[in-house]
Structure formats: structure tokens, C-alpha cells
């Protein structure tokens, strides 16, 4: 699933907009169905992989698949409405068509995660690349020991996927969900005031048989890695999403390069073991 599907990697597959859902003021999730029925049934990807989404005549940008790969027939893509493609998608109606290329990148290490406790640690839109994994775990709960969501947002209005955070995930027997907001007028059940330090103190991640997947701003990534290392998580068990430009999506245009690695081919998730050898460009 690391390589793009087509022989001519520049050609997107046409997909139909089926549904859109505003997640917060900046982000929305768009549900697409591939026009080609066979492709719609057979299309596969891994949580943490990206699609290159074309609004024809406007351009192409990379966004994460956010549905679970178990949801066949449709794919969710969560997009910033302030982006070039996002601002046009916001105006599109059900039935209108876009292009999707991909999947791009290697995604999360699903096999390694099986049988383990998995910490999904996200700040603000960092939850976007982790939603697919969380919903995969909802569909396949026996594959994991436990899923612990640790979500930090700047303010309550930055929350994403609230229905899942406070509903499906919080109510699921294998999930533990910790949500904190740095600015918050009034605490309520499931939502506390706190920063990254308090988030770690509260969730108290344990390294035994665990993996941590971390996504957010560079400052947040550094802070989380520091906390995890202090708690004796091994570098090989900490996986970080590297913010990188995906343009061609298969390692030629150079936009994503990090040292000798093409992030759009073997990223955007790297273990800290790998990242410590690469230029610290994040």
C-alpha cells in the first residue's frame, strides 16, 4: 500500500462528494465515493496515509484519509477550509466530482500495533491523521490491548471529531479518552483545562507493551517525545507524524525530502529511532 495504485501516477481517480461535515470553524470532513464501482469496492489504504485531492481547475493538495480502512466504498478526507482546495470544497454540493490520487506514504505501523496498548497523542488538527486508526480500532477491537486517546487543544472551539471523542471512543470498552484545552471557561465531563504536562500527568502513559503515535505542531511533538522518553518509552516505540509538503506523492518533486528520505514515500510517520538520524527539520 506504499505505492500509488496507477501505472500513470499523475492521473487522479474521479470521486463523487457524498457528504460533508463541518468539524470546527477551520476543518471539515468530506466523504467521497469513487466513480469507478470496482475501485470503490476494492480501494484500500492504511491509517496515516494521505490522498492527493484535486479540485479540478484549482489544484491539488495532500490530506489524510480519516475514515477507517474497514469502511469500504467510501473514504473520508478531513480538510482545512482555509486551504486552496478546502475553500472550494466548502462550496461544493453533494454529487460534484473531485480527483483523488493515492494512497501516498506508508502510514502507521498497524501490524506492530496489534496486541499492544496504543497511545494516540494529538494536538489540535493533529487528531486528523489519527482518526482513521481510532475508528479502525473501534471496528477491530480485539486486535489491540487498549487505545488511549490523549488530545490537547488550544481552546474548546478547536476540538475535532467531538461526536467520536465524547461519544463512540469515550464509550468504547477498549478506549480511554483524555481531552484537555489550554483555554477553557468551564470544565465539563471529559473536557478539562490543561497543558501538555498535565495531559501526560493525567493519562500517565506506561511503556510496557505500548506504542505512542504523536501528531501536532513541532513544539508539541518535541514536548511529547521528551515526556515519553522520560517515561521510558523506547525510541522504536514512539512514532511521530512529520509535517511535510506532499506534492507529487511518489518521491520525485523533492517537496517532501527530509535528508535522504522521501517522506511522501516512506513517511510521514517515523519512529524516533529513524528520526534521530535525520536532519532535525521539524
Amino acid at each position: 500500500m506504499g505505492a500509488l495504485r496507477r501505472t500513470n501516477v499523475f492521473i487522479p481517480d474521479v470521486a463523487v462528494l457524498e457528504k460533508k461535515k463541518q468539524e470546527n470553524a477551520q476543518m471539515a470532513t468530506f466523504t467521497f465515493r469513487f466513480l469507478d464501482a470496482l475501485l470503490a469496492r476494492s480501494f484500500d489504504f492504511l491509517p496515516g496515509q494521505l490522498t492527493l485531492l484535486s479540485v479540478f481547475g484549482v489544484g491539488e493538495e495532500a490530506w489524510f484519509y480519516t475514515s477507517s480502512p474497514t469502511s469500504r466504498g467510501m473514504v473520508d478526507v478531513t480538510v482545512s477550509l482555509n486551504s486552496r482546495t478546502g475553500s472550494y470544497l466548502a462550496l461544493m454540493e453533494r454529487g460534484q466530482m473531485v480527483g483523488l490520487r493515492g494512497p501516498s506514504g506508508m502510514g502507521l505501523p498497524l501490524q506492530l500495533a496489534k496486541g499492544r496498548r496504543v497511545y494516540l497523542i494529538a494536538q489540535n488538527s493533529g487528531l486528523v491523521p489519527l482518526r482513521s486508526f481510532a475508528n479502525y480500532a473501534v471496528d477491530q477491537p480485539t486486535e489491540f490491548e487498549r487505545i488511549i486517546v490523549m488530545n490537547l487543544v488550544d481552546r474548546e472551539s478547536s476540538l475535532l471529531f467531538s461526536d467520536e471523542l465524547f461519544g463512540v471512543w469515550m464509550g468504547h470498552s477498549i478506549f480511554e479518552v483524555y481531552v484537555m484545552s489550554q483555554e477553557l471557561e468551564r470544565e465539563r465531563e471529559g473536557l478539562k483545562r490543561g497543558d501538555v504536562n498535565y495531559l501526560f500527568e493525567t493519562a500517565n502513559p506506561q511503556p510496557e507493551n505500548s506504542l505512542a503515535f504523536v501528531a501536532g505542531s513541532p513544539d508539541f511533538l518535541h514536548a511529547c517525545v521528551k515526556h515519553l522518553v522520560q517515561r521510558n518509552f523506547r525510541d522504536a516505540h514512539i512514532f511521530v507524524f512529520i509535517p511535510r509538503k506532499f506534492s507529487c506523492g511518489f518521491g520525485i518533486c523533492g517537496g517532501c525530502k527530509l535528508g535522504e528520505r522521501y517522506v511522501c514515500v516512506d513517511g510521514p510517520v517515523y519512529s524516533m529511532t529513524e528520526l534521530r538520524k535525520l536532519p532535525p527539520e521539524f
Binding site: G2, A3, L4, T7, N8, V9, F10, I11, P12, V14, S54, V55, F56, G57, V58, G59, E60, E61, A62, W63, S80, S83, G95, Q96, M97, G99, S125, S217, P218, P243, R244, K245, F246, S247, C248, F250, G251, I252, C253, G254, G255, C256, K257, L258, G259, E260, V265, K277, L278, P279, P280, E281, F282
Partner: protein
């Protein structure tokens, strides 16, 4: 398969005229603006003696503006039509040997194990490359030190040695053999001897000690983090000229164009990592926010990261980046003088 021949200079135009019947022929021409590789319609238009042209023939494989696909929208439905793959065979005459080596480096970037640029690949397959060795290398030519040379044969189908009144011609591949006609005469031993001497003399001139042995004592991360990079970028005005004249570079981005009647197209255009927006993510994060970061990335991609990935430099030592830099940055010196402290 190597065999050789001789072609008298006055016969070159007749040979090229013969080729024009079957092939599209591209050759170096003085267009009044500069020496450029352009399609010719008469063999006599091709220059036989010239310095390093400002641009290599790279654009015939990886055009500055390259159609990827067209779209047609009708009542909400969109169809996508891939760009046609050109089929006509072509010959590029007068290729400098380091520019053919550059195409081998481009192959490593564009014909990858997991994905192939089908447009580039088709152009490579249908093109025969005829080189003319640089018997008087340009003063900035350091191609030997970069793993190529003024008479480098790799990547060429034919290589011409300029022997004043005639060319000694090495036929290096089956593609090259196909374009030999009765204008060519058999070569003799004295031609071969002269060619060996000419190659040796030229190679002596196309050298510059890049002093890269020292790099092996340091990890890539240590080299990346040297304070040296915070000094050497200062004259750079981030115009990107070095990237656009580079024969090995394939940085690119795409542009969508909306046309009348529901038509549209996507075009790939050249790009430069010097430009501030080059690596900015969809969400606006720039991993290389300073010019220092971008300059270092360009230099280390050429001389450290690409070699780590492929075993070869992403440079053929053509010297164009130095020749065309408006602030006279000499990349040979930047590499040779790296300060490891």
C-alpha cells in the same frame, strides 16, 4: 558493443539531413539569444563547435511546462484524459557528455522502483543521444571530479571527438548503430590514438579538488549541523538560477489551468527549493523557513543526501550553477572549503 568510424565535418549536415527524414532532430543552434538546443529542419543549422550551452537538453525530457492531463466537465461530471505520450523518435545531436550523465541521474529520480514518470520514461526511450566531447573544457567544468568528464561515454549512444577537419565517432549502443549511414568512413588506428590523447588532456583540465574525503569522518547529521552553513549562504539572493540551469535537478510543482467550455488541464512546471514557499505544507508549516535552511538543503541534497540514497552525486560538474549565479557563488569552493568545527 563499441565500434568506431570517422565523419568528415562537411558531411555532418548531409548525415543530419538524412536523419531528418526519420527522426525529429534537436541540435545546438545560435538563436541570437544564446546557444540553445532546438529542433532543426536543415542539417547545416547545427553548430559543430560551441561552449557549454546555458541550458542542457534536460527540457526535452522534463519540460519546463509539461501537460499531465486534461479534464472536461459537463453537467457536473468530470472526465480525465492523460496527456498523450509522444511516439516520434528523435535524435539530440551535440549533447555534452556530462549532460548525458545528468540524464542517468534524472533516471534515478524519475524512474523509481515504486513509481515511474511515464512521460519522462517514454521520452528517454525514443531519444538517441549523440554527444560531442568537450576537447577544450570550459574553465568552470569540474566534471571529472563529479564523476563524469568531457568524454564520459555513459548515457550516450554516440560520442564525437573533434579532430579539426573530421570527427572521430564512437558508436556506443544499438540505438547509435541505427543512425550510422554511408557518410561515415572507417576509423584508423591514428584516430584512436589521437582520441585517447585528446580525452586525457581534456580530463586533466576538467578537475577541481572537492576535498570530500574529509566528509567520510562525520555523520550526515553532524555535517548538516555545521555552523559553516550559517555563513556560506549569505551572498545568495534566492533567485533560483542555479536550480533552473542544473541538468540533474527535477524539482517541480503542478498548476491547474481552467479553460473555456468546461475544459481544464494540469501542468507540471519546474520549481526551486530556494523559494520560500517550496516546502510549505498544506497547513502552512515551513520546515525550512530561513534562506540558510534552503541553501543548505540544496547543497547537501546534491553532495550528501542524494549520494546516501543512490551512491552518486546529484551533480555532473558542468559548472552552470557557478556561471549563472548573479552573486558569483562558487559551489566548488563551498564544498571544498567545508569547515568541520
Amino acid at each position: 558493443m563499441i565500434h568506431d568510424a570517422v565523419l568528415l565535418k562537411p558531411k555532418v549536415k548531409y548525415w543530419l539531413d538524412n536523419l531528418l527524414g526519420k527522426y525529429e532532430v534537436i541540435a545546438p543552434v545560435d538563436t541570437g539569444r544564446m546557444i540553445e538546443y532546438v529542433p532543426i529542419s536543415r542539417g547545416e543549422d547545427a553548430l559543430l563547435e560551441f561552449g557549454t550551452p546555458p541550458l542542457s537538453p534536460k527540457g526535452y525530457f522534463f519540460p519546463k511546462s509539461d501537460l499531465m492531463f486534461s479534464t472536461q466537465s459537463h453537467r457536473g461530471a468530470v472526465t480525465v484524459q492523460p496527456a498523450p505520450i509522444e511516439a516520434r523518435e528523435r535524435v539530440i545531436f551535440g549533447v555534452r557528455p556530462f549532460d548525458a550523465r545528468a540524464l542517468l541521474i534524472m533516471d534515478k529520480q524519475l524512474i523509481r522502483q515504486n513509481a515511474v514518470d511515464v512521460y519522462y520514461q517514454a521520452r528517454r526511450q525514443r531519444t538517441t543521444l549523440v554527444g560531442i566531447g568537450a576537447h577544450k573544457p570550459d574553465v568552470l567544468d569540474f566534471s571529472v571530479s563529479a564523476g563524469s568528464g568531457p568524454f564520459d561515454e555513459d548515457g550516450l549512444d554516440m560520442l564525437f571527438y573533434d579532430m579539426e577537419k573530421e570527427f572521430y565517432v564512437m558508436v556506443l549502443t544499438e540505438k547509435g548503430k541505427k543512425i550510422v549511414d554511408d557518410n561515415f568512413a572507417p576509423a584508423e588506428e591514428h584516430h584512436r590514438k589521437l582520441a585517447r590523447e585528446m580525452k586525457q588532456r581534456a580530463e586533466e583540465k576538467a578537475k577541481y579538488d572537492l576535498n570530500m574525503e574529509r566528509w567520510k569522518r562525520y555523520t550526515p547529521l553532524e555535517i548538516f549541523q555545521l555552523p559553516y552553513w550559517s555563513e556560506v549562504y549569505l551572498p545568495c539572493i534566492e533567485c533560483g538560477a542555479c536550480t533552473f540551469v542544473c541538468p540533474t535537478t527535477v524539482y517541480s510543482r503542478t498548476v491547474d489551468v481552467e479553460e473555456e467550455g468546461g475544459r481544464g488541464k494540469r501542468v507540471r512546471v519546474w520549481d526551486s527549493p530556494y523559494l520560500e514557499r517550496f516546502a510549505v505544507t498544506t497547513e502552512g508549516y515551513n520546515p525550512r523557513p530561513t534562506l540558510r535552511d534552503r541553501f543548505r538543503d540544496w547543497v547537501l541534497e546534491k553532495f550528501l543526501f542524494f549520494p546516501l540514497e543512490t551512491g552518486v552525486l546529484n551533480c555532473v560538474g558542468c559548472g552552470r550553477c557557478i556561471q549563472h549565479c548573479p552573486t558569483q557563488i562558487d559551489f566548488r569552493k563551498i564544498i571544498a572549503n567545508v569547515r568541520f568545527e
